[in-house]
Point group: C2
């Protein structure tokens, strides 16, 4: 009888194991996560199936969250507003590590080799660097203020900027001890910064003063250079409903495309000369301006109260070629990596909408709870994401 019980106990194992197997034996190249901003959760999505295939809970305050993936696409690192850093296993759909690393966080990045995860913090400020495997703290870099615009650079390095002191820094974590270099003053109050897709240029947006600052990251002695001295928010303009996300700056056709702060405008800048080459009047205050892969088009969403509209602009003519009304409160857009479709989150319609980028037909709608950021695993292979 005892042997029978033992055998039965063993016999029960396989079903659980096989059930888990069915979920876990899958390629990860078409997976993704959608942040659900009100519920501290993320929806696991399958791009090929146009489907949600799971939900991960317990991510903390996801009202302003971002994330990055390990190089093998197995793990997602979610940076929540409350300072929580959560490591998710995409195959088992489980939280495998979690740390409350600060009081208030703004974003993070993973090193080019996938070994380190860095987080930029508002409270108490500074940058914390963690072992990507265990989430053990490996470096704690104070900054004397709120850290913004953290991005990875090749060679296990990161770059970031400090709102309060106006300085940018490069941190090299390839040796035994971190080497942090002050790149100089970029402006009074840098509010966000982004690295171009070739990791060549660090672009820093300034608050309360005109101009944008650029740093040549390929230079042996990188230093801040101010350009576009007519760009930015001063008193005479419209109120700013939402600071634009600089990660949304599109790089296309030899140009940068910038959301004009506080205006219903896009600015086109020649990538080489850093001179303005055109403006586009758009529906509202731009938030994300994202290039559709393998095309001349950028797609733009807008700040509240005009956030029910998305516009498509041709980077050759600078003209709006399409205006869509996908749903209420379109917070984010993510393209399939070869550009065939774009996924949009409609926060107030509680759904994700998938558009065909060529026909503008709606290919699918997927229910989600107050969805915001959409992140496909293909980001694992893009420097700066």
């Amino acid at each position: 009888m005892k042997r029978l019980l033992a055998a039965t106990a063993l016999a029960l194992l396989p079903f659980a194991a096989l059930a888990m197997d069915a979920d876990q034996s899958r390629a990860t190249g078409d997976m993704g996560l959608v942040i659900e901003r009100a519920t501290g959760s993320a929806l696991v999505i399958d791009r090929s199936e146009h489907a949600a295939i799971g939900r991960i809970e317990g991510l903390g305050d996801t009202s302003h969250a971002s994330m990055t993936y390990s190089p093998d696409e197995r793990f997602a690192y979610v940076f929540a507003r409350d300072g929580g850093l959560t490591k998710i296993d995409m195959l088992t759909q489980k939280v495998v590590a979690r740390t409350m690393q600060a009081g208030n966080s703004i974003g993070g990045a993973i090193s080019d080799d996938g070994k380190l995860v860095a987080v930029s913090n508002y409270t108490p400020g500074g940058v914390k660097v963690f072992d990507a495997d265990t989430l053990d703290l490996v470096a704690d870099i104070p900054a004397g203020g709120k850290t913004i615009g953290l991005a990875d650079l090749p060679g296990r390095r990161f770059v970031w900027t400090v709102w309060d002191t106006g300085h940018a820094f490069m941190g090299d974590f390839s040796g035994e001890t971190p080497v942090v270099t002050d790149l100089g003053e970029v402006g009074e109050n840098p509010f966000d910064a982004v690295v171009t897709d070739d990791a060549h240029t660090y672009l820093i947006g300034l608050f309360g003063e005109k101009g944008v600052t650029s740093i040549d990251l390929w230079s042996e002695h990188p230093k801040p250079v101010k350009f576009l001295k007519d760009y930015g928010k001063l008193e005479d303009d419209m109120p700013v409903y939402k600071m634009p996300h600089l990660q949304g700056w599109a790089f296309t056709e030899g140009q940068f495309v910038l959301p004009a702060v506080g205006r219903h405008e896009l600015l086109w800048v020649n990538r080489e000369t850093l001179e303005e080459v055109g403006r586009t009047q758009v529906h509202g205050q731009p938030v994300f301006v994202i290039a559709q892969p393998a095309s001349p088009y950028v797609w733009v969403n807008f700040a509240t109260p005009l956030n029910g509209v998305v516009q498509v602009v041709d980077s050759r003519t600078h003209e709006v070629v399409k205006t869509l009304e996908p749903g209420k409160a379109i917070l984010h857009m993510e393209f399939a990596p070869r550009g065939a479709e774009v996924w949009m989150s409609s926060r107030d319609d509680n759904k994700i909408i998938v558009y065909d980028t060529r026909t503008f037909a709606v290919k699918a709608e997927i229910p989600a709870q107050s969805p915001s950021g959409i992140f496909f695993t293909a980001r694992a292979h893009q420097p700066g994401l």
Copy 2:
């Protein structure tokens, strides 16, 4: 007793199932295949582990083979010289479909949505299009000659060129019936062609006449334009040991970098004006010129008999900054997608060598049988690859 046996039989199941599980439950973002050119096989590699984790055999004549991945990274489609098209499951490491689709094949591509696989053929010529799921033939486009330079374009389209007739074609497979458009004459004998990373320009190399042909793929009426009228192979130059691969044309810093046919030279061309902006003297006749991601560098390998050397060239100064001797007969190079390392195949040393791109240290060596092309799954997310 009978019940006990039944329970025991059930109990035996899990071990087999779990053993398979161990192999199949893995993320696919850091996987890849290395073509073994003498044995009709491909090595399955794990980039994170710097290891070979399996071998797939029965791929036919792999002496000149290429491949592409499905959008989810689950399947690889291998195009062999003998016309064999083989579909490999990356998780089970098994051949799941195979067809001898022609007598002699040169390469292929997958549609942006992953639904169609197209193959360009020498014998009998033309383009065949297959269902990516089943490998059933869905379209057979005759061409009146050998097809070269086949690449995917957004919107379930492909572009290709015919060596014998000198015409380029665009095929749209998004509707019920394929629509094939003749883009006009590109030159007498186009030997290879490539689409730029933004899918904007189709560049076509010509044999036996000077010049390169460019087609603006974003135009409503794309048409061939000849440029670089001093470029190419005529009688007075050195013998050509190997036609350079145009897939190796690097696009960096607003430039194209071209291997000079039959010369020990790279040519730098301004991407916008299509004018030559510089030349670099290199070690031998360039074969692949590949841009290191997130850097100003291109890496170059060379035709026999000088194929034991790899050089690194700075795209800003056009100067050689490093000369490496990795091994005998370096046939191909593939970068980790964020550029941290480069993998090289040394055919005659029967190994793959992994270099750190920053320190030039050898990080690993992996045994392989006459390795040639190296293909990481991250290619699934790059238009034109």
